[in-house]
Symmetry: C2
Amino acid sequence: MATNVQILLASRPTGWVEESNFSIVERPIPEPGPGELLVRNHWLSLDPYMRGRMNEGKSYAAPVEIGQVMVGGAVGEVVESANPRFKQGEFVVGPLGWQLYSLSTGDGLMKVDSKLIPLSCYLGVAGMPGATAWVGLLEHCQPKAGETVVVSAASGAVGSVVGQLAKLQGCRAVGIAGGSAKCDFVVKQLGFDAAVDYKTGDLNENLRAATPEGIDCYFENVGGEVLDAVLRRLNPFSRIALCGLIAEYNLPEPLGAKMIRSLLVNRAKLQGFIVSDRQDLYMRAVTQLARWVAQGKIKYHETVAEGLRSAPAAFIGMLKGKNLGKQLVKLV
Amino acid sequence: MATNVQILLASRPTGWVEESNFSIVERPIPEPGPGELLVRNHWLSLDPYMRGRMNEGKSYAAPVEIGQVMVGGAVGEVVESANPRFKQGEFVVGPLGWQLYSLSTGDGLMKVDSKLIPLSCYLGVAGMPGATAWVGLLEHCQPKAGETVVVSAASGAVGSVVGQLAKLQGCRAVGIAGGSAKCDFVVKQLGFDAAVDYKTGDLNENLRAATPEGIDCYFENVGGEVLDAVLRRLNPFSRIALCGLIAEYNLPEPLGAKMIRSLLVNRAKLQGFIVSDRQDLYMRAVTQLARWVAQGKIKYHETVAEGLRSAPAAFIGMLKGKNLGKQLVKLV
C-alpha cells in the first residue's frame, strides 16, 4: 500500500540552506476525520519566502518548528472528503506542505479548474507568485502608460509576471536578472523591452542604458547592490513595491541600502507588502491572470524537479538562482 | 541712506559648510518695477534644506548658483508696492532670501496676520516647518489614537510640531534628540511622553524602553543609525514619513540604512515628501497651526541670531544641532 512521504525541517540553517537542514520521513497516509479531506498532491511549489520560515526570528509568519512538515503551496486532487465543500476528484490549491498526501480542514484551499490552464499554473503564474506580481505592481505601484517599470529577479515566478503586466499597462518593462540566458528569456520569450545582467559589466551603467528616461516603478525581489542601482535612477514621485530581498536571506548581516536619500529627493514611496494581506484582491488577481494565460496574453516558464525527494536540492538551487521561471516539484 | 545687505553663495561646500562658503555684499535698495513690491525683511528662517541647495547635484530644487543670494524664507513688511495685490504696511512671508530688502513679483508670497501670533511664527510653527510636520504626520503617516509616533530631531522646528500633533491625535509621542537639554525640552515643555538621547548609552536599548509597544509612525529628519534603530522597532503596517536626512548632508558618502528588511517583514510604507509639493494642504495646515498656537495648544521655542551677518554662523550651528526649536535671524 502507498505511504505518505513528508519533508520536515530538521535544523535551522545559518547562512546558506543545506540538504541536511531537512529530513525525509515515510508515514501512513492519514484518514480524514469529520470535516476533513485528503489531498493527493500533484505539484509542490518552491518559493523564496520559505527561507524565512526556516528561521527562528520574527517575520510576518510564524516559523516552521523543528520536526514539522515544511510549509509550502501545492496543488492536488481530493481523494477522500468528509467535508461538504469539497468532493472527491476536485482539484485544489493551498498550503498543503512538502508531502505527497495532505490532510486539510479546507481552510485556505481554493478549487481550481484543471481544464482552463495546466494545474501547475495555479502555483505560479495564476497562483501566489502571479497574485504577488499583480498586487505589488498594480496596487502599490499603479504604473501609468509610458512609464518605465523595472523588476529584479525578472525571470523568476513573480518577476516574469511583473514585466508582462507592465507591458499590458503600456509601460516600458525592464528586467534585472543574473546571466545572459535569463536576460534573453525575459526579452525574447516574455516580451520585456530590455534586460540588465547584474553579473556582467557595470550594473549602474547598464541600468542607465536600459532606462533612458529613469525609473518610475520598481518591483523589488533582491535588495543589496541591485536596490542601490535602481535608487540612483529613480524619477520624481516613483513607487517601489518591496516584495523580497533574496540577496540577503542567506547572509548573517543585512546588506541594506545606501541610497535612501534618493527616496527623499524624489519623493518616492516604498511599500513593503505580502500578498496574503490582500485577500480582498487575491481572487480578482488569480482569476484575471488565469484568463490571460488561457488567452496567451501572459506566458510562463517552469523549472521542474522530479519527485518529492528532490525538493531540498531544488529549493537550494532556486535560492542560488538556478531556476528559470517557476520552480516546481512534480509529485505524480 | 540705508543700503541692502545680501548674503551670497560664494563657493560650494565639500563636507561641512564653512563661513567662507558665503560672501556678504552691500548694494543699493532696489526700486519696484511695474507689478513688483519691495519687502523689508524682519526675520530670516534658517532650515536644513538649504544645505542641499548649496550642492551642485540633482535634488528636488535647482541649486543656488555661485554669486546668487542664498535662498530662504523670510517674513517682512511691504514698504513699497506697484502690485495691486499688496499694500504698503502689510506683512508677508515667502521665499525672500538672505537679505534685508527683497524685490518680489508677489509669487509665492502669503499675507500674514501680525496680530494673531508673533510674526516669527510664520517661519516656524505656523510656517513651512509646521506645515511640513502637518503634511508628513497627518497626511503620510495617518496616526490613529493609541499608536506610538516617533520623531527624530525632535526639538527642532519640524520635530517639535510633529510630537505635539501626535499628542493632539491621542498618540504616544516619543522624540529622539541629542543631549539632555533637548530631551528635557520636548518632554517637559512640549509634552512628549518620552525622549531618547541618541548621544548617551545604547540607542537601541533606550529606544526599546521608550517604545514598549513598538513604533507605528516615524517622522524621519535624521537618517543613519537613528533610522536603523527605529526600523528595528517597527510594528506591522507602520508608516514612515521621510522628511530629511541631516546626519548625512555633510558626509561625502551616504550612510543609508541596514534594516530595509524590516520594511518588508512589517509591510511598512516609507514615503519621501517635500511640503512644497502639497500646495493643496499647505494653507489648511498653516491656518490650523496658527490657530492652535494662538490658543496655546501648540507651543514653540526659537533660537535667535541677531543681524543678517550672523546668518552663516547660525546656519552652520543649526546643521550641527546647536539650536533648540526654530533657528531664526532677527533682521530688524
